[in-house]
């Protein structure tokens, strides 16, 4: 029941926001709803993982409205509900049009994402998967930046195209289930599909997740979308929605088409590692701060994809840990990039520079988050990436070598960008730039606390993951 409540709170609050007229009230109500949800999620961490909710939905198609969670879902749920209060807060005190509608869409996106991570039925998963896309599409379309019309359409069609193949895969699996057909995950994982079928089914299922993550070469929608997205839109997109791809792959591929995974394992790892290097090089060469962060995100996600496919417990634990830490870090980074844009009116790095003089505190916080992103020890990023590279090393030294380049190249392009944005001589154009407002601290400081806290004491997360990790490494053999 508590799962249903967690799912419904944002949805119902979101719809009720449409009846508010005042922007401030709408924002406050949305914030309260997200905070309540965060507290409920934290209370779930201690409970045993047998809490489920199940109701009949469409019997004759074997579809049940069943919610449940395990270690991976918990982390995903935690990440979603941890980030959304900050997403809502990012709107406070800013001049936005139609605030009740915006917050309604944000909360609907939250509800749909929670649904994705809780669904125990493939059809339900698919419905939430699509539902998550719709509010985000409108957030980007209405509240986005320049050239948003063409970019959002591309983003929408691209991601939807992937999901429709996933739909095909779900129906195909549905009709393979014995007896009265069903779309339950548990039934899917018990199918013994012939190896030849698994090999092509793998791609039908994987393409949706590959686009969502995105990994090379399905990434072309991502940088322009991140660049033009509003602060809140990009926090949702980069912080949580990319993780949907990883979650989906873990839910669908490994239990359902294990032979397909083994067959394509090396190809996917190589694709991902190409993505790591490709994205890092572009991030270094790129002159726009937001696009640079977008490519850096792609590099990190690619490493996570590679780690996912090496199929060992180290990489797996590192991957899930990194999901959390990357989500928090990238959301904070994008929030800072948007602050830079607010202060200076641009994110083109050649025009920036010397911001540190006017905004010293911003420069300090930016540096901390940036170090978290390049996986400095004692930040959360280090724990995750270290474990993932250890996992890659067990597969092949070359994988570890190229995977490790994420950290090295990351340090290069991140620090280079920092240099161009924050350091240097004072520029006349930014004479009016001011430091952080009180509100910005409320967003950035807690996120930094999470980044450092998990870096210093990551054990609680591993406690959540342990049972799943054992199952996982058993499955790989």
């Amino acid at each position: 029941m508590i799962l249903l409540i967690i799912l419904l709170i944002p949805f119902i609050t979101g719809l009720s926001l449409l009846f508010f007229r005042k922007a401030a009230t709408a924002r406050t109500v949305a914030l309260i709803s997200t905070v309540v949800n965060l507290l409920l999620t934290l209370s779930l961490l201690n409970a045993d993982q047998s809490v489920t909710y199940s109701a009949q939905w469409i019997n004759y198609l074997g579809i049940q409205f069943s919610l449940g969670y395990d270690g991976i879902s918990t982390i995903m749920l935690l990440l979603t509900n941890l980030l959304f209060p900050f997403v809502v807060m990012a709107g406070f005190g800013r001049d936005q049009k139609n605030v009740p509608m915006l917050n309604c869409l944000i909360l609907c996106a939250q509800a749909a994402l929670i649904g994705v991570f809780l669904a125990q039925n493939a059809f339900l998963f698919y419905v939430f998967w699509e539902l998550a896309l719709i509010p985000v599409y409108f957030i980007l379309l209405v509240w986005g930046g320049d050239d948003r019309k063409a970019i959002t359409l591309k983003f929408f069609i691209y991601t939807l195209a992937g999901s429709l193949f996933l739909l095909f895969g779900i129906i195909y699996l549905y009709q393979l289930t014995p007896g009265t057909h069903t779309t339950d995950f548990s039934a899917f994982s018990q199918l013994h599909i012939p190896a030849g079928t698994q090999n092509w089914l793998f791609w039908i299922l994987f393409i949706a997740f590959a686009i969502k993550m995105p990994i090379f070469p399905f990434h072309t929608w991502q940088p322009p979308t991140y660049k033009m997205a509003s602060t809140q839109g990009v926090m949702i997109l980069a912080g949580v929605m990319t993780k949907m791809g990883i979650y989906g792959a873990l839910r669908f591929l490994f239990p359902v088409v294990p032979l397909g995974v083994l067959y394509w394992q090396n190809l996917v790892i190589i694709m991902s590692l190409i993505g790591v290097i490709y994205a890092s090089v572009i991030a270094y060469k790129h002159t726009n701060l937001k696009t640079m962060i977008a490519y850096s995100s792609m590099a990190h996600i690619s490493l996570m994809a590679a780690a996912m496919f090496v199929l060992n417990a180290y990489a797996y634990q590192g991957l899930i840990f990194q999901v959390l830490s990357h989500g928090v870090t990238i959301a904070a980074l994008f929030y800072l990039a948007c602050l830079v844009k607010e202060q200076t009116g641009t994110t083109e790095m050649p025009q920036l520079g010397g911001l540190k003089i006017n905004a010293p505190n911003m420069a300090i916080l930016f540096l901390i988050i940036l170090l978290g992103s390049i996986a400095l020890p004692l930040t959360a990023g280090f724990v995750g990436e270290f474990l993932m590279i250890t996992g890659l090393f067990q597969q092949s030294i070359w994988f570890a070598l190229f995977g490790g380049l994420t950290m090295i190249l990351g340090a290069i392009y991140m620090l280079y960008a920092y240099q161009r944005v924050m350091l240097g001589d004072k520029k006349v154009a930014f004479a009016k730039a001011t430091d952080l407002r009180a509100l910005d601290y409320w967003i950035l400081v807690p996120l930094i606390v999470v980044i450092l806290g998990l870096g210093i004491y990551p054990q609680p997360i591993f406690d959540i993951l342990k049972p799943v990790a054992e199952v996982f490494s058993g499955l790989a053999h």
Partner: protein, 457 residues
């Protein structure tokens, strides 16, 4: 049967009411009358009565489709209250002709004899030829009417020729008898029978605007008065598919391999041409015409995946498709008025800003046509794919999915225009009844997508 007779009488009554010069009573009488037809239809449920030497078999299949078409016609008439407000002449004829066409549609869902099918198609078509030319002083309306009439009668002639050939071979018009006659050849049909069946299929394919017999539909949809277009895109298509399904199920299945291959090619072509054609359309009515063609493709996919629940999926699909299409045409009319008679996609600009409570339904309806959850359009497509994939039709299903992706593009193109800011030259006026109906349809589309997955059949 009583529903059919009552609807004809109702048409005549409405026609004569036109002499009273009192437009205000036409719509209420027609709608109340259709309400009675609806009740009469429901009373026939489960009886399976036969009429006219078994030429008509009124089983649950036909009653379910009849009820669906009556509901959509009522919807169109309710929108007609506002639509015909400004029209001075011949309003009664419009209502009456639609009612006559509806009776033709009733025959098309309940025949068990080829002659009845022919009669049904003709009774449906002839009023439509007149209705398409409803705007007497508009060139395009006249062109639509003439084009529809010429091509339609040509298709009818081929269809009739097909019936004659089949009769020549089998010496019967009754579908069950034709079925036993075909079965004895074991797939190797004599040429005369083969050609006859092919011609019959072509005649029906013309009615449902399946490629390559779709060329009339964009022109006719564009030229006809918009409410008539809505009628053609929904009720006529529903009737056409009911007839097609019945023709196949009752008489022609299992099809000889050559004909089956031809139908599959038609399905693929319909999907391809419908979706690719819609991509480049600038006129909203033509866009919906091509979208209707592409939906025909999905329906054919469901129909050819021969399965027990095909009929129920067809009913659900046509009904929710109609439920989304009719209000979209109405919203188009409202925007056309606000933009001084333009018909291209830019007329939707500024809708979200001016009337958000119309814009949101419009978005939901477009999403339903595009097949995005949680709308009923998604459920309809999902069930089609469940049918086709569980029948092992994998490649065509993947092709249809790719086409569905293209479909999303042009529907979202319209959604994008809705969010583009622009002041239309005139204010967008939404009458109370139209506003209420648009919202009711939207709620129905969402409700059916979440809670109601199939209709009783």
């Amino acid at each position: 049967m009583s529903a059919l007779i009552f609807t004809i009488v109702l048409g005549i009554i409405v026609l004569y009411l036109g002499f009273t010069k009192n437009k205000a009573i036409l719509a209420p009488v027609a709608i109340a009358g259709l309400g009675v037809s609806l009740i009469l239809s429901i009373r026939d449920w489960g009886l399976g009565s036969k009429y006219f030497h078994d030429m008509i078999l009124l089983d649950n299949f036909s009653i379910a489709f009849n009820i669906s078409m009556i509901i959509i016609t009522i919807l169109i008439f309710l929108f007609g209250v506002d639509y015909y407000e400004t029209m001075e002449f011949h309003v009664a004829e419009h209502y009456a002709l639609m009612l006559f066409a509806l009776t033709g549609a009733f025959l098309m869902t309940s025949f068990s004899n080829l002659i009845m099918l022919f009669l049904g198609i003709e009774i449906l078509s002839i009023p439509l030829y007149v209705l398409a030319g409803g705007k007497k002083y508009s060139y395009r309306s006249n062109e639509a009417s003439f084009k529809y009439f010429m091509l339609g009668s040509f298709a009818t002639a081929i269809f009739l020729f097909g019936i004659a050939l089949v009769y020549g071979a089998s010496a019967t018009f009754y579908l069950p008898e034709i079925k036993t006659y075909i079965a004895q050849f074991n797939g190797h049909l004599p040429p005369m029978l083969m050609v006859g069946l092919l011609f019959i299929l072509i005649g029906v394919a013309f009615k449902i605007a399946a490629a390559p017999f779709h060329f009339w539909s964009p022109d006719v949809y564009e030229g006809a008065p918009t409410l008539v277009t809505a009628f053609m895109a929904t009720v006529v298509k529903t009737a056409g598919f009911a007839a097609f399904y019945r023709l196949l199920g009752m008489g022609l299945l299992p099809l000889p391999p050559q004909l089956e291959k031809a139908l599959w090619v038609m399905t693929g072509l319909t999907l391809l041409i419908g979706n690719l054609g819609a991509l480049k359309q600038n006129n909203f009515k033509r866009l919906l015409a091509y979208s209707a063609i592409s939906h025909s493709g999905f329906l054919m996919l469901a129909m050819l995946s021969q399965h027990d629940s095909s009929a129920s999926v067809l009913l659900y699909y046509t009904f929710v498709y109609s439920l989304a299409t009719v209000p979209l045409f109405i919203i188009f009319i409202l925007m056309k008025r606000a933009s001084d008679g333009l018909e291209d996609l830019t007329i939707f600009r500024g809708l979200y800003k001016a009337k958000p409570w119309v814009a949101v339904p419009a978005i939901v309806l477009l999403m339903s046509l595009a097949g995005i959850p949680p709308t009923s359009g998604f459920m309809a497509k999902y069930q089609v794919f469940v049918l086709s994939i569980s029948q092992g039709i994998l490649l065509t299903s993947i092709f249809a999915i790719i086409m569905a992706i293209i479909g999303v593009y042009y529907y979202f193109f319209v959604i994008r225009e809705i969010f583009t800011d622009k002041q239309q030259p005139y204010p967008i006026i939404v009458s109370k009844i139209n506003g209420a109906l648009i919202i009711v349809c939207t709620v129905a589309v969402l409700f059916m997508g979440i809670f109601m997955w199939r209709l009783p059949i």
